[in-house]
């Protein structure tokens, strides 16, 4: 069942439609409700390897629907410490729960100060309103 549109207040956002949940020196990353809705039902997540480096504003993987492919942009830099295997096996989890079970990867932050550059929910909703 597809989730209803929402942008939780406790998350940080990147204008390329990615979110980060920052906890100490780690962050959980995923794509926003808007991104999964634009793509449609996800059928594939091309995930990075554990230990791979990710760089803010660069692609760290791909998500695909039946019709489209989209790069996933890292909102923050760091090293991959966990890939969500549930999403690799059942990509539609992202549609069902983009901010919960549908997270994509967890990273250890290499540049924690980058968090300051991310958008809060209000600012991200403003980005969406301008599209």
């Amino acid at each position: 069942m597809a989730a209803a549109e929402s942008y939780p207040e406790d998350l940080k956002y990147h204008r390329e439609h990615d979110w980060a949940r920052v906890q100490a020196d780690e962050a959980t990353l995923g794509i926003t409700w808007f991104a999964q809705d634009a793509l449609g039902e996800l059928v594939h997540f091309e995930a990075p390897e554990n230990g791979a480096g990710v760089t803010k504003d660069s692609s760290y993987g791909e998500v695909e629907s039946v019709k489209a492919v989209s790069e996933v942009i890292a909102p923050l830099s760091g090293e991959v410490v966990e890939v969500n295997r549930k999403v690799v096996d059942e990509p539609e989890t992202v549609n069902d729960d983009p901010y919960g079970d549908g997270w994509l990867i967890r990273i250890r932050l290499s540049e924690p100060a980058e968090v300051e550059s991310l958008l809060d929910a209000e600012a991200y909703k403003q980005v969406l309103a301008e599209q």
Binding site: A2, G40, E41, V43, H44, E46, V66, K67
Partner: protein, 349 residues
């Protein structure tokens, strides 16, 4: 900027919350609920597609059959009134101007249902070659076309059984229409040609009887699973029918445009062949991706029935036999696939 054309069902699509996209100059529904749910409805029950964007050409006159027999690849003499035939409009190089279905309406009157993106080209192609005694008319604006497809479609529409590639005048929910036993999904089903101003009533009748609205997204995945080529992707004016595996719709013993070239390709063997493949590695092939064995992907998607990446693509004849392993370049990553016998998915009915 070009204004997109709308079918008579545009308002219904908006009401149903469809995602509308530009396609071949038309604003068309790509999905309502979701591609996968719509795809499954057609494989297990019944779906309805608005395909009113497709073109309709009429060719009439005592020499209409003669004109078409010289321009279309299949042998038109094999069908009688009430029958239809899949065929190709070919160019001098044996390339495919369009693929279409021709319906023999009367002894001297034919209907051609053609791809939306080629309707203008096809009309001009035929019009330029018209002879005295054959009149070509574009009647696309007069008709809407609904495809009702799936194992339960005939039962749901309360239609009599009939053979594939036949047609008859019929009535559904009080609406008169031409009921064609044709389709683009591999399932049992019909395509209903109806006058434009009655299209909404017919659409509503199909929905009342349990047909699920389906968009062009599912139409594409359905046709790909059964390996029906898509003009502009898998076949084009620059690809010939023999290489595309469409030799079965080319009557090489008769004379038609490009037949000499097709005979030569058949005789010498094609340089590349259009094959169907299923990904072995976890990846989704897409049109334009290179295939290491000498060619490229022309159509690719996830197969909702197989839950694997599938595609059509041209490869070197040495790699074209079912069972051959091929490698697709998925954005820089080599991914293995296996050539399979067409169709990739065989419908139960």
């Amino acid at each position: 900027m070009q204004t997109l054309q709308r079918t008579p069902l545009h308002g219904r699509h908006v009401e149903l919350g469809a995602r509308l996209v530009p396609f071949a100059g038309w604003e068309m529904p790509v999905q309502y609920d979701g591609v996968i749910a719509e795809h499954r409805a057609v494989r297990t029950d019944c779906g309805v597609f608005d395909v009113s964007h497709m073109g309709e050409l009429e060719v009439e006159g005592p020499r209409a059959g003669e004109l078409l027999q010289g321009l279309l690849s299949n042998d038109l003499d094999r069908i009688g009134v009430g029958e239809a035939q899949y065929t190709l409009l070919t160019n001098e190089r044996g390339g495919i101007v369009d693929d279409l279905i021709v319906y023999k309406l009367e002894p001297f009157r034919y209907l051609l249902v053609v791809n939306a993106s080629n309707a203008r080209t096809d009309y001009e192609w035929l019009k330029e070659r018209e002879v005295r005694g054959s009149d070509v008319r574009d009647v696309s604006d007069e008709y809407a076309l609904l495809a009702v497809q799936g194992p339960r479609s005939i039962e749901r529409l309360e239609l009599p059984d009939a053979k594939p590639f036949t047609f008859a005048l019929g009535e559904i929910g009080g609406v008169d229409c031409m009921v064609n036993r044709t389709g683009y999904t591999g399932e049992r089903g019909v395509e209903l040609l109806v006058e434009t101003d009655e299209a909404v009533e017919l659409w509503d009748a199909a929905l009342d009887r349990g047909a699920k609205p389906c968009g062009l997204g599912a139409r594409d995945t359905l046709r790909l699973e059964v390996c029906y080529p898509l003009h502009g992707n898998d076949i084009s004016p620059n690809t010939d029918a023999i290489s595309a595996g469409l030799g079965w719709v080319c009557a090489l013993e008769k004379e038609f445009t490009g037949v000499d070239e097709l005979r030569r390709v058949k005789e010498e063997g094609p340089e590349r062949r259009l094959v169907a493949f299923v990904m072995v590695d976890k990846a989704i092939p897409r049109a334009g991706m290179a295939i290491e064995q000498g060619g490229e992907v022309t159509s690719g998607s996830l197969s909702p029935m197989l839950d694997a990446g599938i595609g059509l693509g041209y490869v070197d004849p040495a790699a074209a036999a079912p069972g051959s392993e091929i490698t697709v370049d998925v954005r820089g990553r080599p991914r293995k696939a296996r050539v399979v016998t067409k169709p990739i998915y065989k419908p139960a009915t």
